[in-house]
Amino acid sequence: MLHVENLTAAIGDKQILKGLNLDVGAGEVHAIMGPNGSGKSTFAHALAGRDGYEIGGTVTLDGVDLLDMTPEARAAAGIFMGFQYPVEIPGVNNMYFLRTALNSVRRARGETEIGARDFLAVAKEAMELVEMKQDFLDRAVNAGFSGGEKKRNEILQMAVMQPRLAVLDETDSGLDIDALRIIAGGVNALRGPERSMIVITHYQRLLDYITPDFVHVLVDGRIVQSGDRTLALHLEDHGYADFVDADLNDAPERPLAGAPSRR
């Protein structure tokens, strides 16, 4: 479904992605793990279409080239990115934002727009999924939300948008165990044969809750190893040191040193 071939991304002279290859089939969940600065977030933004990168290579979704598309066109094509740092938008009502987003992609796809009342039903169902109360919808988008609330709001948006491919960037960062459980529950409920996911994470902890079909290790802009979920367990025990050049050892900290052990 998603085909990524020799993807490169640079900001100015700084090359971040150096030829990334990945294929994600329908219904599959792929985890991408890697040390800080390896290019994980850049990969997510390259898929979502953020400005400011020099991009090379090929990315197609269901055979359609994504790279020339605007972020909004990619959303209409079925890409959803869960942000590591969801943006606060004071003054824009969350409900209005969600309905505008959904209707924007529906319009782009030639579908009819959804009215306020029907939308409320859609939103209610999505809210239950992430255990959010009605007042979340009445507040401004992410404004004054706690870290956990922001991440739940991302999953709520995903539930409303029903994407073909969800790219979840460090969705677990900054979450306590209860919030993590809620978010993973939401993500798992949204898994399905027609929906693929790329779960980007630094820690293996999230993968205790969201079981990936494949795990990839991203180091220095390339996927250096792929495997099943046992690869994540190996990383937990050994860190990324095996994959990082000796002369880079001073760059990434030993990332798993403080991580909780797996139950």
């Binding site: 972020p71 909004e72 959303a75 209409a76 959803f80 942000f83 505008t100």
Partner: protein, 408 residues
């Protein structure tokens, strides 16, 4: 604060003699278009325009409640609805001056003449609206003052007065819509004087949306009694030069004034807010919260003053002005003026100037919202923080429609 005699053309001549129009060297008029101001002509109240174009009629906010319509400085009785609940007096200034001069307390008539244009107003504004609320009355429906200028052949500018007197313990909302007809050069010059009795509450909204060829000059003066509450909300949207000046005197202990406003400009508009809040009594609080959105080659001005007089201990005053520049040709000039001559005073002020947040735009676009719509959402979100301060839903809806967004 004496009940000065009313105006007449004879006194006008007396006043107008020797009036010097402001120049760029006057701080309060620094960003004004002086050539255009020099071309405004004022004179005795002109005739009522009988036919108002349909688009102007459609532009008038539709509010339930009493309404007084002033066209070229004269009250148009046919278009007004002066019926009011008990305890509320709503008349044209001309009638009130004639029949019940004691009701018309021209507070600070002379004191309020601070420049050429307030002098012109005192000279020529022989009509307008008088709103008096008795002691202890809660007025439910807002009182709507509609001021329309239609530049004519004799003079191109209109002058009018609004006098609001709120009795002790009473509360009322007054909406002033300032509009104009046609595409001719001209303007309006409105002066509002407000007296708030002890424990009285007033919400006062100015909606300035004159045509792009016209100039609007407004000065609102307020004297507040003990523990009274003032909430002004100003929307400076139209005109080539829109000037909204406020002078608030916190004269009674424990009074509270909240002034918020939005100026939203494009083209080559200059939108000028001149604010002064004077803390004369002890333990008063004041808040100034103004937001500017400036596109194209428009200019915004926020000149916000807080004067704390000797003895006004326990003053708590805050001021903020946040601005969004949508074009690299737009500019904003923001200046706080703080003069503090008392002890135990808490004064805060802050100003920001920024552009649309690229990350926020990207976030919205990643949700399928196109770039233009995302931009509009962010701009309106910024503006809505002020719009939300307006308590009357119909007024909020008028503003959001005017700003090109409708939430439903």
């Amino acid at each position: 604060m004496s009940a000065a005699a009313t105006t007449s053309p004879i006194r006008a001549v007396e006043l107008i003699d020797g009036i010097v129009r402001p120049t760029k060297r006057d701080e309060a008029w620094r960003y004004a278009p002086h050539r255009e101001l020099g071309e405004l002509t004022f004179g005795p109240t002109g005739s009522v325009v009988v036919d108002l174009p349909a688009d102007l009629v459609a532009q008038i906010p539709a509010l339930d409640g009493p309404r007084i319509v002033i066209i070229n400085g004269a009250v148009d009785r046919a278009r007004s609805d002066l019926a009011t609940p008990d305890g509320v007096y709503l008349r044209s200034l001309a009638d009130a001056t004639e029949s019940q001069p004691d009701l018309v307390n021209h507070q600070g008539d002379r004191a309020g003449v601070v420049d050429a244009f307030t002098a012109y107003n005192l000279a020529y504004a022989t009509d307008g609206a008088v709103i008096v609320v008795d002691v202890g009355v809660d007025v439910a429906a807002p009182i709507h003052v509609v001021d329309i200028t239609a530049p004519g052949s004799v003079t191109n500018s209109s002058s009018s007065r609004v006098i609001i007197d709120v009795g002790a313990g009473s509360s009322v909302t007054v909406i002033e819509s300032r509009l104009g007809v046609g595409t001719e050069f001209g303007g309006s010059n409105v002066r509002t004087t407000v007296a708030l009795g002890d424990d009285a509450t007033l919400e006062h909204v100015v909606l300035q949306d004159l045509p792009a060829q016209q100039v609007h000059l407004s000065r609102v003066e307020v004297a507040q009694g003990e523990r009274s509450t003032l909430r002004t909300r100003s929307f400076n949207l139209g005109a080539s030069y829109g000037r909204l000046a406020y002078h608030v005197e916190l004269a009674g202990a424990g009074a509270h004034a909240e002034l918020s406003g939005l100026f939203f400009g494009d083209g080559e508009q200059i939108l000028d807010q001149q604010i002064t809040v004077v803390h004369r009594a002890k333990d008063c609080t004041s808040r100034q919260l103004f937001r500017g959105v400036l596109d194209d080659a428009s200019t915004g001005v926020f000149n916000g003053g807080i004067d704390v007089c000797p003895g006004a201990d326990g003053t708590d005053a805050e001021q903020s002005n946040d601005n969004l520049l949508l074009s690299n040709r737009a500019e904003v000039n923001t200046q706080p003026r703080l003069e503090i001559l008392a002890d135990e005073v808490a004064c805060k002020h802050g100003a920001t100037v920024g552009q649309l947040d690229d990350t926020a735009l990207y976030y919205l676009r990643s949700r399928g919202i196109n770039a233009e719509e995302a931009r509009r959402l962010l701009i309106n979100g910024f503006a809505d923080e002020v719009v939300d301060d307006v308590s009357i839903e119909a007024v909020r809806n008028w503003i959001t429609r005017r700003l090109g967004h409708d939430h439903d």
